[in-house]
Symmetry: C2
Subunit: 174 residues, 2 copies
Amino acid sequence: MRRRPEQLATGEWAVLALVAEAPTHGFAVARALVSGGEVGRVWAMRRPLVYRTLDVLTERELVRAAGTEPSETGPPRTVLEVTEAGRERVDAWRLEPVQHVRDARADLMLKLLFLDRAKLDPAPLLTAQRERFEAIAAELEAVEDEGFARTLALWRLENTRAAVRFVEQMLRAG
Amino acid sequence: MRRRPEQLATGEWAVLALVAEAPTHGFAVARALVSGGEVGRVWAMRRPLVYRTLDVLTERELVRAAGTEPSETGPPRTVLEVTEAGRERVDAWRLEPVQHVRDARADLMLKLLFLDRAKLDPAPLLTAQRERFEAIAAELEAVEDEGFARTLALWRLENTRAAVRFVEQMLRAG
DNA sequence: ACATCGGTAGTCAAGTATTGACTACCTGCC
DNA sequence: GGCAGGTAGTCAATACTTGACTACCGATGT
C-alpha cells in the first residue's frame, strides 16, 4: 500500500472498522478477515498483512496500543483500540457513498457490512449511493459512442443499472 | 505472474493476441497497450511488463523472434511472430466463454475486441456466454440466504443479470 | 512428572511483481 | 555540430505478498 497522503485503502478500512467496533488484538482481527470468515467473505486479508496494516494505522494515529492482556488460550495479546481521529474517520466513511461502480463490490459492501454489524440504519448511505449511481447512469446514457467504445459503454451502463437496482432493492427490503 | 502450468493471465492473452494479428515488435505492442490506447482501454500494460510478458510467451513457444528489422524512425526492432501453437491457443481462447462474471470486464471484453479487430462474427462466443451467465443466474436465484449473505447474493445476482442483458443486446445489435 | 499435540499470537526472510529511471538510437532542425 | 523529441529496450530499486518460522499456553495421555 503506497503512502497516500490521506485516503485509506479498502483493507485499511476493514481493519480500522474492526478495531473501532471494540478493543481487540491482531490475531482476532486476522481471524475475522480470513477468506470466507465474518468479514473475509467481503474482503479477505492474510495474517501478516493484517499486522502490517495495524502498524500503518498506528503510525497514522488512527489506532493505538493499549497494553497487553493475558489470554486464557495462548500467549498474551497486544490490545489495540481506536483513537478519536480513527473513530471519526470510520463514522464518516460508513456514510459516504462510493464514487465508482467498480468500488461497490469491495467498499460499498464493507460499509453495509459494518453498518449491519453495528445495527445502524443503512438507509442514509443507500439513498446517497442511489443518487450517485443514477448520476453515473445518466452520464453513460448521454454519450453516443461508435465502434468498440459502444460495446464498452454498454457494459458499463448495464453494470451501473445493476448497481442502482441493487441499492433500490436494499432500500425496499430495509 | 506466477508459473501456472498451462493457463495464461489476461495480460498474456492480450499480448499474444496482438502478436497473432501480425508480426510486430515489443514497442508497438506496448503502444497498443498504453492506458487509453487501442487495446489499452480494455486492458492496459506498461512497457517493461509487455517486454517481460513477451519473454514468457517466447519461453512457452507461443511467440518466437523472427530477426531484426531497421526502423525509419529509430533504432532497429526485434520482430516477433506467433507460433503454430500460439495461433491455435488464441483461436480457441477467442471462442471460449468466461466462467465467472468477474472475468467479463477484462477477459470477455478482450475476446470481443480481438474478434472485432479480426472482423470475425462474435455471435458464437456471445451465445455460449449467454448460456453460461444464465446458468450462474439460475444458481444464484435458487439459494436462500439469511442475514448479510443475502445482501452479497443480491449483489452477485444483479451483476449476473446485467451480464446477461449485455450479452443479449450485443447479440441483437450484431 | 513430562512429552506432545493443537490452537493461539506474532514476525520475518525470501520470492515476485511493478515501476521509475535509465541507456541508446535515429531524424530533423536550428 | 549539437540538441530536441520520438523510438526501442533494459534494469536496479522499491513495494508487496507469502510460506515458513518462533514462541506461548492448556489439555491429554502415560
